[in-house]
Point group: C2
Chain length 142, copies 2
């Protein structure tokens, strides 16, 4: 897994020509740059609006295509909260999502040292977890 999560002020043209086996086209670079710039879990439409600033000709269909490609290649994570539209997150480390009911903001939440979710669930022998999603809502402290 490539270490994009830390690269804060990254320009699209700084990306290598290929990431995780995915060809970095102009549009994919732009979409990825948007997601890495403000880490606020934007929706596809948010990404579209922001990408349009620097690339006025990009289409919403392309944003959806790029997002799907980036998610499939494990470059960004797709985040689903209740029935809302999907959001996109550049943080690939193990974490879950807390939506603050006041602000609407989504916070990344990590597990306490050494805890693995599979350890705390009553799962039958032989279970293989391929996908896992934890989401919370409420008042986020601080």
């Amino acid at each position: 897994m490539i270490s994009l999560a830390n690269k804060k002020n990254l320009k699209p043209e700084d990306f290598p020509p290929e990431i995780e086996g995915l060809r970095m086209t102009r549009q994919r670079r732009e979409v990825l740059a948007v997601i890495l710039r403000d880490r606020d879990h934007p929706t596809a439409n948010d990404v579209f609006l922001r990408a349009q600033k620097r690339m006025p000709t990009i289409s919403l269909a392309t944003v959806y295509n790029c997002l799907e490609a980036l998610v499939t290649h494990n470059i960004v994570r797709q985040v689903n909260l209740e029935r809302e539209s999907s959001r996109y997150c550049p943080n690939l480390s193990d974490h879950c999502h807390f939506q603050d009911e006041k602000s609407g903001k989504i916070h990344d939440v990590v597990f306490k040292e050494g805890v693995k979710l599979e350890d705390i669930l009553e799962l039958p022998k032989g279970t293989e977890v391929s996908h896992l999603e934890i989401s919370l809502k409420g008042i986020f402290g601080k």
Copy 2:
């Protein structure tokens, strides 16, 4: 919280006139009975199809209305897995959902003895969790 989760073979007409402050109409009884009968996490449309068997005049809009009322009054739980249509679950105890990739079936999964999710997450002081959803996908053992 009323103990409906155990009542397996319940006929609609057996429900009291009011549950959790919600008036039990004919349609709401039928919808609830469907969800309690087969505990397979049906979608709204599944519920509609099954309810139609005993009540041919019920409408899909009504099924959605009833489901919303039942969820709001904490009589059934709404379950969201990825981007799929919502499913409905009569199990009100603390549990999460595992979708088996082979069969498509959804299994209830409980926490191990004494474990509370909030204990294992790095949440800032003062955080109040009002809603929590955990979903898994993969190969369910046994």
